[in-house]
Structure formats: structure tokens, C-alpha cells
Symmetry: C2
Subunit: 260 residues, 2 copies
DNA sequence: GCCCATTTGTGCGTATGTATG
DNA sequence: GCATACATACGCACAAATGGG
């Protein structure tokens, strides 16, 4: 990753009204998300960036600090700034905001998504309150966790807003990371995600697909995702059958929030 | 909340080696956490702070920006900076990093904690891997959610590190917010919380306490909390009986993390 | 609708401290 | 000890949002 590449990326992500530190943040994020730079890669140092880019040192530091907060990069005095391997890693690493812990307790079980259907649906529906649009594009997937069990995912977006999900070939949809697709399409990262969980009996067709008894209680997870802080971008519902596997919620929550 | 009070607080939280923006951040946080300032209160403006405190404008802005990120304050151009009412509110608002959603879907069910026991326990135990100490102080609580059901909480800390939990009267322990206690004792906020959830059968005595059938599956939540980013400070295990109530995980996760 | 004071938000340039190899 | 590179901090200038007259 050299400063020239970043300079070009930066132009693409610069828009009038957008703070420079956000543009730089998004440019780096894109370079990582798209696989253009591999984990471990060293970035140009602050000084060089400040010379090559039309951004001052302090502003560059602010952008990099945000990337550190988000675990996208790591910075070490005397050494440099490096692309972190935790956040993106490879293709399609973690399908949710949560991941199932493997036997070691350190890593995560691999996931294998399979798209079952993609269609426009008319509202009102579960997505309506969050997305604030009547009709939606619905993508149903079955996602195999390791070689142990499958979860069922229903995903809704506004097709007018994200036509990319309509046009993208099904085959590609299978291997794509949805968050990454949204980031590429909107030029903005998903920052806020609200999770709601409870025990629930899934609809019959879901039980059938997951190959579990009818009326078997599952753990249900609703996901409300926002672009930036307030802008609803997708809605999702996931059913997980009973399993001994622990779900790690990456609640990296930087908020203090007082309570035991 | 005036600048003079903050100035005194700031001195208390200033330590050699500690960045000024952290000291200011912690001072404000303490003022909020301890209830000295009420939600909605207006803070002195940037200029005034920069004049009264031995901190420059840019540094003050950095501290305030962090507080905004953490939802402790809100800032509005042309108006000022205000203590947010979401984060702390009052006494003992949310007992977990998660809260049960009420009927309206907007608010949360009230919680009523009850301390069942507090004792030193010898390791190794569930806490050992996280806290990295053999012996621990264990606090068992039953927490009533609304008037509907109860959850069971086991909480472990290192008594050498947080003797306050040993010395505090039981009655006070009941009404205290544990995170707030830790903040007061350590002068530092809990930033990182790892959550792990799965379906599990609780021990018999837990089933009995929660008044549910033996061998009834419950939702189990493990909590690993850190002071700052890496310093383990407490470990907790919570059993929730089957309920229709949704648990809202405040996963305010600012990390982008790519995936649908 | 428009001007204006207030307050936050962004950005620059620079200086100095500190960790690493 | 020394060069490198990040970390903190300062002071300033101007832009942008808000609310009141």
C-alpha cells in the first residue's frame, strides 16, 4: 500500500461537505474491505501521508485514530501503522455481528452461506418499522455453521436505495459479504447495529429448512443496522436452533454505560 | 455544572503520564456517574473550559468527542454541550449490557436486584481464565425483571483489586450499580465487554431460585469485562429463563466489521 | 426571510514527548 | 545513543449549525 494509491482512493471518497478525516477513513477502509491491501501491510507513515495528501498531520491522525478504534489498523510507535488482520481477514469471515466460538474458545467456526431466494415483497412486513419503506427486497439464506448446524437468515433492504442487491448475480450474492456490498454501494460504513434476542418458535418452513422438529424453540436474533448513526439501512432476522456452541457478540461497545 | 467544579475534579483525575484528554474525560464521566450533575445539564462551552482549565481547545474537543462517542454527552452547535440522559439516567438503570424491552418496544422493563450471597471462593472456577486470579469474591443475585420473571446473576471480582465489594454493606450493594462502583474505585471506565450467549441448563439451585422446572433450558450469558481495553476486571454469568421478552443488546459497536 | 451572536465542527501548522529497534 | 514513527498538546482560523430578533 503506497501513498499514491491512497491518494487516488481519497479522491474517489472525497465529497463536498464530507470531512476530510472521514474521506481518508473510508478510503483506507475500502482498500482493506476490497482486499486491495492484505492484513499486516504497513501503511505510509503520518509524515509521508501529510506530504502526499492534501490533508494536514492532525487531521490524518484523527482519521487513523478512528481506524484504530475500529480495529481496522494497528499503530505502533517507532514502527508504523499496519492493517489489522482481525477485522476483515479474508473473504466472508463473519456473517453476523456475532460468531460462533470454536472448540479452542479462541477462534470461530467457519460459515457457509447459501442463498435460498431473492424477491421483492410488499409491505407492511417485519422490516417496515425499521426501514420505513413499504416494499422491500427480501433475501433468504441458510447458513451452515462449521459442519454442525445451520441458521436461517431473512434479510431486507430498500431496493430503491440499494439496487445492487437486485442486480447482483445470485452466485455472487452467495459469496459476498453484505456489509461490504453496502459499504461499496454507499461509500459509508455501518456503524450502529441494534440487536434484539429472545427464544421463539420459528415458522414451519424455517423449521423444515433447518431440519429441526416443528415448534422447536430457537434463538431468534433481530438486527437493525444503521448507516452512520441514524440512517436505517437493513433489517435482518436470524433463527438459530438449539446448540451447545456459544455465540460471541462482538459488542465492542466503547460506551461506558453504568451497571454490573 | 460550572467550570470551577470541573477544574477541581480535573485535578483529582490528573495523574502524571495520563493524557489530559483522558483526565478531562474521566472527570466529566465521574461527575455524571456520581450523580453530581443531572441529565440535561448544560456544560460550560469550549472556550470557557479552555480558559479556565489548563488544557487547550483542541484537547478539550478531543475529550468531549470521546464522551459524545460514548453517549455520555450530546453537543449541539449554537447551543452547547449537554449531559445525556440515556447513559446513566439515575440509580441502577440497566443491570446488564443488555436490557429487556417493554411492551412499547421503546423503553425497558424496570429491574429489582436482590443480593443472595457474597463470599470469597477458592479457585479454580469459571472466573479463573478471565480474571487470572485463583481466589475471587463471588456475588450471587436474583434480579426481578418487571413483575414477570427473574434472572440469576453470578458475579466475580478479584477482592484484592476491588476491596470495595468486600467492605460495602450488603444493603448498599443491592442498590448500587456495579459498573459505577468499579468506576469510582478505579477512576477508570469499563470500555470493553465481551458477551457469549448460548442455551444451557442451569444448575439445580439456580432453577429452584428462579422457580422454574429442573433441567429447563435457559439462555446463558457470559460476560467478560475489561478496564480499558485489555485489563480484565470482572466476570459474570447470567441465566435467563424462557421468556417472550426481547433482550436488547446495546451493541453500540462502532467497529465496521464486514458482514451481513 | 434575513442578519447576527453563540457554539460547535473542521482543519492547519508546529512543538515536544515517548516507545521501538 | 540515535533515528524513526507514533502520541500528545497547543494556538489559531474559519466553516457550519442553531436560535433569537
Amino acid at each position: 500500500m503506497n501513498a499514491i494509491d491512497l491518494s487516488q482512493l481519497l479522491e474517489r471518497f472525497s465529497r463536498p461537505g464530507l470531512p476530510k478525516y472521514t474521506a481518508l477513513h473510508d478510503a483506507v477502509l475500502h482498500a482493506v474491505a476490497s482486499g486491495q491491501v492484505k492484513p499486516g501491510t504497513r501503511m505510509p507513515n503520518e509524515q509521508e501521508l501529510a506530504q502526499v495528501l492534501p490533508i494536514s498531520l492532525g487531521t490524518i491522525q484523527r482519521a487513523l485514530r478512528q481506524l484504530v478504534d475500529e480495529r481496522v489498523i494497528q499503530r505502533r510507535p517507532g514502527q508504523g501503522s499496519f492493517i489489522s488482520d482481525r477485522s476483515s481477514g479474508g473473504q466472508m469471515e463473519h456473517p453476523f455481528h456475532c460468531r460462533f466460538v470454536d472448540d479452542s474458545g479462541q477462534g470461530y467456526l467457519p460459515v457457509f452461506p447459501e442463498v435460498l431466494s431473492r424477491e421483492r415483497v410488499s409491505g407492511p412486513g417485519p422490516w417496515t418499522a425499521h426501514l420505513r419503506c413499504k416494499d422491500a427486497l427480501q433475501i433468504i439464506r441458510r447458513i451452515r455453521i462449521g459442519d454442525e448446524f445451520s441458521v436461517h437468515s431473512a434479510f431486507w433492504v430498500d431496493p430503491l436505495r440499494l439496487p445492487v442487491f437486485v442486480s447482483m448475480p445470485l452466485r455472487q450474492l452467495t459469496s459476498e459479504n453484505f456489509k461490504q456490498v453496502i459499504f461499496r454501494a454507499c461509500g459509508q460504513a455501518i456503524h450502529k447495529v441494534d440487536l434484539f434476542t429472545r427464544q421463539d418458535v420459528p415458522p414451519l418452513e424455517v423449521s423444515k429448512l433447518l431440519d429441526i422438529p416443528a415448534r422447536q424453540f430457537c434463538s431468534s436474533l433481530r438486527v437493525q443496522a444503521f448507516l452512520g448513526e441514524t440512517d436505517p439501512i437493513y433489517y435482518q432476522r436470524i433463527f438459530t436452533p438449539p446448540t451447545e456452541r456459544e455465540l460471541h457478540i462482538v459488542s465492542d461497545s466503547r460506551a461506558p454505560g453504568f451497571a454490573p
